[in-house]
Symmetry: C2
């Protein structure tokens, strides 16, 4: 595996891959890799000849009171995991290689970014779009794989690719969970043992929603109230930020669930740690 730290070297490598007729898969990450990230690498490897993983904790997508400086980092372990997973290139640029001191360009998404996490994280998705566009131009991949865990990010990136005509196939890969159901996240390392127990409420709430939907409940007001009560009663350590049912492509909130795929997205604080989780629910047609 090649470890690359400069834009110029990454561009040259990508040119070489293209010249050799190789299909380039790309997995952008902020590092501190876990099994979720590795599943994205596997998805890329299944579709492409070479996989590039970027590891870059992007300062522009963190708010001033967020965890940029304490975000967990372990480059050596990340490199070992990438090597073991058959990654061809780990692109690990320093911040100054990516952002000029007088940078002044930002890519804004103005419909899908406003709700869900965007409501409490102003500027977050502009930071995500901007860095992903830069990485797309540097890595020049055929395919890019993103986790369904960050469902809003995935929808926003799909929108950016469409609206800016990026020639990248965006693939969403399923959430990977711990055996007890907790969605894998680099931020799980922040949780104390007690907090980790409380955090299980999120995945259990998703399962509860799926169950209620099979019982023909379609009102999102009713469903949300049920989930909220479930969390308050069983998981008082969870401070809910949102429980929202939306259209998976447009992220438009739903009042009654239509048949077909629906995204149930949750965000909450457990202690100081902000966690998100979601499920793509396949809503069946109502029985007559």
């Amino acid at each position: 595996m090649k470890v690359v730290t400069t834009v110029q070297e990454m561009e040259a490598l990508s040119d070489t891959f293209r010249r050799d007729g190789l299909r380039i898969g790309f997995v952008p990450t902020m590092g501190y890799l876990h099994e979720g990230h590795i599943s994205l690498v596997r998805e890329s490897a299944a579709q492409c000849d070479v996989t590039v993983v970027s590891i870059f904790v992007n300062p522009v997508q963190f708010g001033p009171n967020e965890d940029f400086s304490r975000y967990p980092r372990d480059i050596e372990r990340d490199c070992q995991l990438c090597r073991d997973a058959g990654v061809a290139v780990a692109f690990i640029p320093p911040v100054a290689e990516i952002y000029a001191a007088d940078r002044s360009i930002l890519i804004e998404e103005r419909l899908l970014s406003t709700g869900l996490c965007g409501a409490s994280r102003p500027g977050h998705f502009a930071g995500v779009c901007t860095v992903v566009a830069k990485l797309f131009n540097i890595v020049n991949p055929h395919v890019a794989v993103f986790g369904q865990k960050d469902a809003q990010q995935l929808a926003v990136i799909r929108r950016m690719v469409r609206d800016l005509n990026f020639r990248v196939v965006v693939v969403g890969a399923p959430i990977v969970r711990e055996p007890d159901g907790l969605a894998m996240s680099s931020r799980n390392v922040y949780l104390s043992a007690a907090e980790r127990q409380q955090a299980l409420g999120l995945s259990k709430a998703l399962a509860l929603a799926a169950e209620h939907i099979t019982r023909d409940i379609r009102s999102t007001v009713a469903l949300t109230a049920t989930l909220r009560k479930f969390l308050q009663d069983g998981y008082p350590g969870i401070l809910e930020e949102y429980i929202t049912f939306v259209d998976p492509a447009t992220l438009a909130p739903l009042t009654d669930l239509p048949p077909g795929p629906v995204l149930l997205a949750l965000a909450a604080k457990v202690g100081r740690t902000r966690l998100i989780d979601n499920a793509l629910l396949d809503v069946p047609t109502l029985q007559p």
Copy 2:
């Protein structure tokens, strides 16, 4: 010459050019071509194997009270001019081919776009950046040629290419003028004979500034006052919008002209028509 109206066909052609090892030059235009545009094509032809010209009156870069609907159009004449100039592909997409009805991505530039024309045209440069990024992704050129006539646009595009890591060499080509000095512009067709006479004041003011600079005048307050008086006295049909001396790369306004290149940019209304002009002045070191 191929005339292409769909994104898909343009992408396929561009892929073919690349596969054949051809260097692609790109000249984005809003059509109603004149000798200025053709000079950009010649510059592209000098540096590349094939030249793509896009003709697209971009609605997103026009303000609500601007001239989008009456902007002059003559596609047949444009195609003939492109053919005569040896253009390989004219890319002429309809608006719906470029913008989805629910488009929600905009590229914002926040430093260079605020002054000069940006001050009176909010959203203009976001519209320019967005469409140029899209066209870069669709046409995938090695080189893109822009006119120095739109000096602020050229600086903003250079900034976008740098800040988003587009792999396109941006070339600025000199202003082309009518024999009497008027900078060529598709909007000159709006001018009545009397207005056209008045419009000559702009290029004459640029020449006057150059002359004063050779006389060791360096205060932009003094220079601006001189130019303003010159226009008011000799060209009362010119309604000045700005007369500004700036750094050509950062567009930061200057109070005293440093030695080296300085951009003098003018904007004015003549009747209903908004015109711009500029000169890159090479300021000599002061005599001791």
